[in-house]
């Protein structure tokens, strides 16, 4: 069981590594941000799986923090990047 969870964590890390290609390639900042969001969710999953595999329940709190706070980078990203002359910016 432990080995399975470790393997699962490895697989998810490999997913992140593959997704890095999109960050590197772009082409737009939005693509990169989308990838970062994916990594965030994957990271939450990895932390949860690691908590199970290593029998370290407190790691779940770290996953909780990631789930709670990943949105902040996105908010920061979209904040005033929205052009001011745009009529219906998401945050006016």
């Amino acid at each position: 069981m432990q080995i399975f969870f470790l393997a699962l964590a490895c697989f998810l890390i490999l997913n992140i590594l593959a997704g890095l290609w999109r960050v590197v390639q772009g082409p737009t900042p939005a693509d990169r941000m989308v990838s970062a969001q994916l990594f965030g969710t994957t990271g939450v999953a990895i932390l949860l799986v690691l908590a199970q595999a290593l029998e370290a329940p407190y790691i779940r709190n770290a996953a909780l923090l990631f789930a709670l706070l990943m949105i902040m980078a996105v908010l920061s990203f979209v904040r005033k990047s929205t052009p001011k002359q745009g009529q219906a910016g998401n945050i006016k």
Binding site: N61, A62, L65, F66, L69, M72, A73, R79
Partner: protein, 323 residues
């Protein structure tokens, strides 16, 4: 399998760090840095250090990303991405250094216990239950105190650069559409709750003032991102008190120990003292980090004229006697 995981995490860290350095665009570098923080917290989790994983999660996912993205947007210069390509040969000496340090690492005997035994012995006498918290607040409380001083000094420096009395970041108008409001109304109470939970947890398990403070700071930044007016309405004196409170309580702890004719920073036996210091420290960390994250903003509510006047008054220090 565990070994494979280690190698994978290590490889990803180095690959991302390499890419951060080599990335042609700054935005890409910042996104990669956020990912780097994520992988670091995986490494902390793997290395049985949930305290660090918590702090890294809050700092890396929340504050560092916001700080870097905000700065990047503020200093964006379209079409001007320049790297010092002529310095790329410096990689060689750096790799040489890495080689040398690696050679010496091979000689480290990793079975030495460090101070773990001493901490274990100390746990018998201290009133705290969780070793990391005990090290932070009791055994090496001086470090923690001075580190609160570093935070305070950073805020002071920020005020000095911005020439402000207190952090009054330009407040964004409240989000117009329901999604933003809905998000904030869900996340903010949760953030407060989770921060408090971590603070409470720190007494006997991974968690504590640092993590709680950073999480609350993230809440403050979120409040600001949502354009909530409460931060701007905070009285200056209250803000100052919050920023200095943890530091001041540590000072009191040190001073009262002197009065009792004990060495500086000796904890009284009452546990309430330590808890008060820890809670105040969490509050101050939250206030200071929030200020650091949002206080670097250029004040946009001021018009051009006041900005110019501000610069002039800063440019020349004059003496009071002359006037």
């Amino acid at each position: 399998m565990a070994l494979f995981l280690d190698i994978l995490v290590a490889f990803s860290l180095v690959a991302i760090a390499w890419r951060i350095m080599r990335a042609p665009g700054h935005f890409q570098a910042v996104v990669l840095f956020i990912t780097f923080g994520l992988l670091l917290s995986l490494a902390w989790a793997r290395l049985n250090s949930p305290d660090i994983a918590l702090a890294e999660a809050a700092v890396g996912a929340g504050l560092a990303g916001v700080l870097l993205l905000d700065t990047l947007r503020a200093v964006a210069q379209p079409g001007k991405v320049k790297t010092g390509a002529h310095f790329s040969w410096l990689l060689l000496p750096c790799l040489l250094l890495a080689g040398l340090l690696t050679l010496s690492i091979i000689h480290i005997q990793p079975d030495s216990q460090g101070l773990a035994r001493a901490v274990e012995a100390g746990m018998q006498t201290t009133s705290l239950e969780y070793p990391v918290t005990a090290v932070l607040l009791d055994f090496r409380g001086y470090d923690t105190w001075l580190e609160l001083g570093v935070l305070l000094a950073a805020v002071l420096g920020l005020l000095c650069v911005r020439r402000k009395k207190s952090i009054r970041a330009p407040l964004l108008p409240a989000p117009a559409e329901p999604v933003g409001r809905w998000l904030i109304s869900i996340l903010l109470p949760l953030i407060l709750l989770v921060g408090g939970f971590l603070l409470w947890l720190g007494a006997f398990a991974p968690g504590g003032a640092f993590q709680a403070g950073v999480v609350w700071a993230a809440g403050g930044v979120l409040l600001w991102q949502a354009g909530h007016p409460s931060l701007g309405a905070l009285p200056v004196s209250l803000w100052r008190t919050g920023a200095v409170l943890g530091f001041a309580l540590f000072w009191l702890l040190a001073a009262t120990a002197l009065i009792r004719n004990e060495p500086m920073l000796t904890h009284p036996q009452a546990k309430a003292w330590i808890l008060a210091v820890e809670y105040a420290a969490a509050l101050s960390i939250a206030v200071c980090l929030t200020s650091l994250a949002i206080g670097g903003q250029k004040s946009e509510d001021r018009n051009q004229k006041s900005e110019v006047r501000d610069q002039r008054s800063g440019d020349r220090c004059q003496i009071t006697n002359n006037r």
